[in-house]
Amino acid sequence: MGVAAWCAVITPAQAQSRDTVRVPEALIIGVRVPLADRSAIGTSVSQIDSAILAKPGITLNDAIRTASVLNLREYGPGGIATLTMRGAGASHTGVLWQGMSLNDPMLGMADLSVLMLLGASDVLVLHGPAAQSFGPGQLAGAIDLRTALPTDSSVHVQAEFGAGSFGQWRGGAGASLRKGRWAASVSGAAVWAENDFTFSDLARIGHPNDTMTNSRVHQQGASGSVAYEVNHLNRLRLDGLYLRNDRQLPPTMVSPTGRDALFDEKALMVLGWERNGRRTTTDIRTSYAYSDQDFFDSKADTNYLNRSHTFRIRAAQQVLLGRGFAFVARLNSDLAWGRSSSGYADGVFRHMNQATISVAHKPLPWLSGEIQAGVQSLNEKVYPGPFLIGSVIRLLPDWELRGNISSNMRFPSLNDLYWYPGGNVALRPEHQLAAELGNRFDRRIEAWRVVAAFQLFVAGYSDLIQWQPGQSYWVPENVRSTLNKGTETELGFDVDLKKMKVILRLMHQWNRAYMDVALSPTDPTLGQQLIYVPEHQAKMLLDLEAFGAALGADAQFVSGRNVATDGSSTLPPYWLVAAHVGYRITVKKAHSINLRFSLNNIFDQQYQTMAWRPMPGRNWAISLRYGFN
């Protein structure tokens, strides 16, 4: 576990108290997903196990790193961290909270290091076109952090405290309750970390040990959710999230004098109404997101201010037509305003809309399919799409085949459109044409469960936006085309007995992503793997729990990555291995104390996920959690 991932997690004791499970055809997970957030039939949605998220001391970055096929690019402890999927960029990968995007409209991407789990009980991984329902942009997929509210009438309280190597301290508390028609959850957390670890400085002659400087992080966050069942048909829900991250930006090995700093403040408020009728379902949600990012450039001794406000509406209406037919209409609307003291000081607007209709049909008990089409707009320009056709064939009760063909687009960010100088309002949307085919075997026999999933995907991207050197300044242009293809394999084995639990996960991703159209007759980048996209990632996670004692280990392998587009500079592959032990005491069934000690990067690997940004060697963390049910 990297120190950067010390975004403390407090998950209220609610893992055992889920909302009513209402599993749509396309989903294979046990999480209630509102209509607006349901993915199309034939697409792939997986879940980072709630049991993994509920472990003391676990962070969102830990969970992604060890228990998903996603790729995390960390700029060092406390530094920026971005999420990528299937060989595409961070701007093609959505980060959602309760189904609403946290991607910054100015940059088009989300900084995962700012985000804390904060009461999220489930992390859904929406693979490729499964994220299409959330509006334009998430071409590679998305993660969605969801908070399930309790369904029983008890109160759950939890508090956690932790410490670790390199001056790490964290604490937090959470509570959830249900009373009558009301259900609520609240959580808060704070993290302090010096991140002053020692690393081998590969940029200095003799590779002497250096101590990381200027990498202090102070982070706070809070979230709350409240839901009210108006009647058996109607439900209202209000969610709020606040994140604050005040950090120094650690210097790189090749630029060791950097003393920059970054201050982030983000808030998101979501108000939703759901109506679940016998033949119709309605889901309408609106949100407001505020983002403030202030970058202090130590060399220029200047603070650059970046602020944005985003209003979103997401609405979906489903009508069951009979004879196995269903009709769904969706609207995603996004109005963003941003102001950057260095790029557009007077403020700029972007308005995106997406309207789709889809028809789903289940002609046979083992066969279902969906066709989706729509239109999208950016400011005054209207574009056809997205399109999708998908199908699921259930070969056996526990084994299904699924596949889809889709087309979608991503609109330029505010910076792409309006940055001064260079911003290009004539940019076209980036296009994606994708197909995937997969199968999933998921068999439960009493306390035993075996999961095996395999997916093959291919996606062609065109009109990719790249900032290009011009005569006098850089300009974003629609220049690149890439072809991304690969496989995702997951094997899982769970045992959940009264006194013993076992979780085993084995994951592999092969991803070949490369430029497939030359920019010039001698373009050296043609056919080269895209920068920072590992061709192979393999992960293993094992958790054993018996009679209150816990023991586990995880390992991950990341293959070498290109740093230059022509492959002339690369980062070496690396292995990371971690282990943990823990013990849980339960008193009178209501009180529990959970202690966990983890040792990370056991073999003290010197590695980088981004060039010349050292990551911590061997480190430890200890967490103590008290819970009351």
């Binding site: 630029s255 060791p256 004098t257 650059y304």
Partner: protein, 345 residues
């Protein structure tokens, strides 16, 4: 992040070169004699700066010679290189340092640190050198025997290229729109002239006149200009104004005979020193590619033109004769931005 992009844009658009100087005749020339070092900036914040060597006699190219010699990366954004005696000084901008090497084999012998965002080093001939800086209000004075910064001269902001003419140092004070004249023996300001906009690059012609290009990071209120100055009185003798605000001339270099001033304005242009108007057509046209850097080999008079490609992959250097005819090309590192010529055997 946005500021990082912005800085990248600025750095990406500032073309760099420096006429390297050799103070002493060296009878025993080594591996890298009779050629040119190309400083490849590398991607900003990625740390893949490098030095490529090209040998004049047979065209042999050696890539990333600094790392090969020392088993460490050069750093982040290699801005320029200067030869002084047996030593080479590689200015690594975003690493805030100057790496000192034996230029014959590129072996490392020291590091000049304590600099903020260094751009160019100019040897003063007295065992000292000046180093300009992108992010400092001071010009650094360094001792070349101890490789330490020993003093600084207040200049009020960003400085770029320097030249030594008739015992005085002329500095392009980019941030304040001035040309400064400094006495290198006393480190005192002798004179200054405000020419406006942002002077970045300078060259000296056969008559000892000082040529300066001014521009901005973006076409703004006034068009860029090329000026000829009398270095003695620091008076402006000629002003050539670009036709539009979108013209962005940079990278001045004098031809071997000093009768022409070469510069980049989208393509490579040649300006006779007696001209009273800007040339209407380029001397070297690489369209649709925009050249990133130029310099003139003081031995052969050949013109070296750097092509940064997509600025994320290795670039190319094209070699033209003095008449602008292509002689050949060779592969360089990422963003070839500067040239430093080693003596002829």
């Amino acid at each position: 992040m946005k500021k990082l992009s912005y800085i990248f844009l600025i750095i990406g658009t500032l073309t760099t070169f420096i006429a390297c100087e050799t103070e002493d005749d060296q009878p025993d020339l080594g591996e890298f004699a009779n050629g040119v070092f190309v400083t490849n900036e590398g991607q900003f914040n990625v740390g893949n700066a490098s030095v490529t060597h090209y040998r004049r006699s047979d065209g042999q190219v050696s890539s990333d010679v600094y790392t090969a010699a020392n088993d460490v990366p050069l750093g982040d954004v290699a801005q320029s290189m200067t030869l002084v005696g047996d030593n080479g000084y590689v200015v690594v901008n975003n690493s805030g340092k100057v790496e000192v090497v034996k230029w014959r084999d590129l072996s490392h012998i020291g590091t000049i640190s304590g600099l903020t965002s260094p751009r160019f080093l100019l040897a003063l001939g007295n065992g000292r050198a000046y180093v300009t800086d992108f992010s400092s209000d001071y010009l650094a004075v360094v001792d070349l025997t101890t490789n330490a910064k020993i003093d600084s001269i207040m200049v009020g902001g960003w400085t770029e290229e320097m030249v030594l003419v008739n015992g005085s140092v002329y500095v392009a004070a980019t941030g304040t729109g001035r040309i400064l004249k400094i006495d290198p023996n006393t480190n005192t300001m002798l004179a200054e002239v405000t020419i406006g906009n942002e002077p970045t690059s300078m060259a000296v012609d056969a008559n000892g006149k000082l040529w300066v290009v001014t521009n901005d990071t973006y076409p703004a209120d006034e068009p860029s200009r090329i000026l000829r100055l009398d270095p003695i009185g620091l008076t402006v003798e000629l002003t050539l104004t670009m036709p539009t605000n979108f013209d962005y001339p940079n990278d001045l270099a004098a031809s071997k005979d000093g009768q022409k001033i070469l510069f980049i304005n989208g393509q490579v242009y040649s300006l006779p020193i007696t001209a009273s108007a800007l040339p209407s057509s380029p001397m070297i046209d690489l369209s649709p590619v925009f050249p990133y850097s130029i310099d003139v080999d003081p031995v052969t008079g050949n013109i070296f033109v750097g092509d940064g490609a997509d600025f994320q992959s290795n670039g190319t250097v094209k070699v033209y004769n003095a008449q602008g005819q292509l002689q050949g090309s060779f592969a360089a590192g990422v963003i070839p931005g500067g040239f430093c010529f080693t003596p002829q055997e």
